[in-house]
Assembly symmetry: C2
Homo-oligomer: 293 residues x 2
């Protein structure tokens, strides 16, 4: 399907994409570039990429598909580095968890060349960062959200959809605004809660004793608190308006529960919990994607 | 080790205890009672209990060990129902997630007979309630907290410790006060957060679309939101003072993160997340029980 894939950022996401593309026979050759030469070298030794490039621009040279898998805060600089080789025949995609900021950067830097850029967000990941955790199955059976804009070339969106479908993903298209609002609600804000909750535990004198007693509920609830600090700094700041909106709503719901507790209103408390418990019991991950692309 | 076990409340916790005791060869016969006759009958048909009792008192009659596994709000009434058969030769234990309220009820109802009652909290459970989910392995490799009081007979604490150790558990003893403070922090308050967070999602018009997009982070973060409403109503109300104290602390930590977001203070935000992420990455469940019993 493709001759040459250029991966900029050979970490968990970029490395896993390269492995998946190779395993599916969708690409002949993979050229990779990472800011850290040791990462690029490791990716090459692991067989994640076939050849190391010395710059982002050289990773794009000769490619007919390019994946940007750099930290969100490095997106604009990366666009600048490669813009001279961004042409209408090359499919460009990113894997960022926020879309409006990436699209703004693409518009600013690529200008009329941004027709070939298809913003993408795979709902996949691990708490473990780095190419050493790259996994050809990372994206299988997961959802991919594409957020094309008016300027995006429709045939590039079709190409992107076909590619991710071939990798075993469910593809959904949304507007960047709807995407950022939805993921603030179901992903970004829960991370903020988990960070705040764990920070609150660590601030207490008895934190070691508390942590030693914590069980499986705590383990699962706080799993996302182990996420990468730089990645989540960028995501939370990029999507801060929607995240803060979710936080306000959450504080309202928490306040209602606290009031029921303070006043020992068992029935009100149980009714609140029952609604949530039923909804959560019925929920299944990826059971009903809203608008399939 | 024991001749006859009386189980009052043949649900997930009581049923799993009966199965574990039988499988370990620690008891010859199990008599069970549940408020709902269909539960007792189901437990008998499943072989969880050998014989159904028609009342809590009859389940205690002839037993040398009794497990109370009823909802916390039913504890006092159950103590009343059985108090005439509470004698110094029978080990009584509960499995409640809060300890001060259960001990208060024991003191009020059993009075000087409460020497034989060893308050116990196994750190185990599932989101699924009911005897149909009873599992002989539920307690294996889990922590059990015993919270004896001044009046508790030391040889009964020894008996309880030996029993849970034989079932493959790590036994820790704590004061009821320290127990309730610690579990407010690592279990009860996280449930309150998860309920509030999920309620906040459900209140939004786009909740169906949001839920359809949620991924593995959301799945694990909200698993405890599916917990049993009546059980958690009781736990949260019984331990409300400690839970509300945790909530205040959490709101402070959340506020600090929100402020960093609002002011786009990337470094401060990253530093906060980094501390949490490292601590959570190093944490292992049950790795360092604080004071082994």
């Amino acid at each position: 399907m493709f001759k040459q894939l250029g991966v900029i950022g050979c970490g968990l996401m970029g490395g896993s994409f390269a492995l998946a593309m190779k395993q599916a026979g969708l690409v002949e050759k993979v050229i990779g570039y990472s800011k850290s030469p040791s990462t690029t070298e490791r990716a090459r030794q692991m067989g994640v990429i076939d050849q190391a490039a010395e710059s982002a621009l050289l990773a794009v040279s000769g490619a007919d598909i390019v994946l940007l898998a750099v930290p969100v805060s490095a997106t604009e600089a990366t666009f600048r580095a490669i813009r001279h080789l961004v042409n209408p025949n090359v499919l460009f995609m990113d894997v960022g968890s926020t879309k409006r900021d990436v699209i703004d950067a693409a518009r600013r830097v690529l200008k009329e060349r941004c027709t070939t850029f298809v913003p993408a967000h795979p709902i996949a990941g691990k708490e473990l960062a780095g190419v050493q955790y790259a996994d050809s199955q990372l994206y299988r059976d997961r959802q991919i959200i594409l957020t094309p804009i008016d300027q995006t070339a429709p045939h590039m969106v079709d190409k992107a959809r076909a590619l991710w479908t071939a990798l075993g993903c469910q593809v959904t298209t949304m507007t960047p605004e709807a995407h950022d609002a939805a993921f603030a609600a179901v992903s970004h804000f829960p991370h903020l809660i988990a960070f705040a909750y764990f920070a609150g535990i660590l601030q207490q004198q008895e934190s070691d004793e508390f942590l030693a007693l914590a069980g499986p509920g705590f383990r699962d609830f706080t799993r996302i608190a182990a996420s990468d600090p730089a990645v989540w700094r960028d995501i939370l700041i990029a999507n801060r308006e929607e995240v803060l909106r979710q936080s306000e709503r959450f504080r309202g719901a928490l306040g209602a529960l606290e009031q029921a507790l303070r006043e020992c209103k068992g029935e009100a408390l149980e009714a609140l919990i029952r609604g949530v418990s039923m909804a959560r019991s019925q929920w299944r991950m990826g059971a009903q994607p809203p608008r399939r692309g």
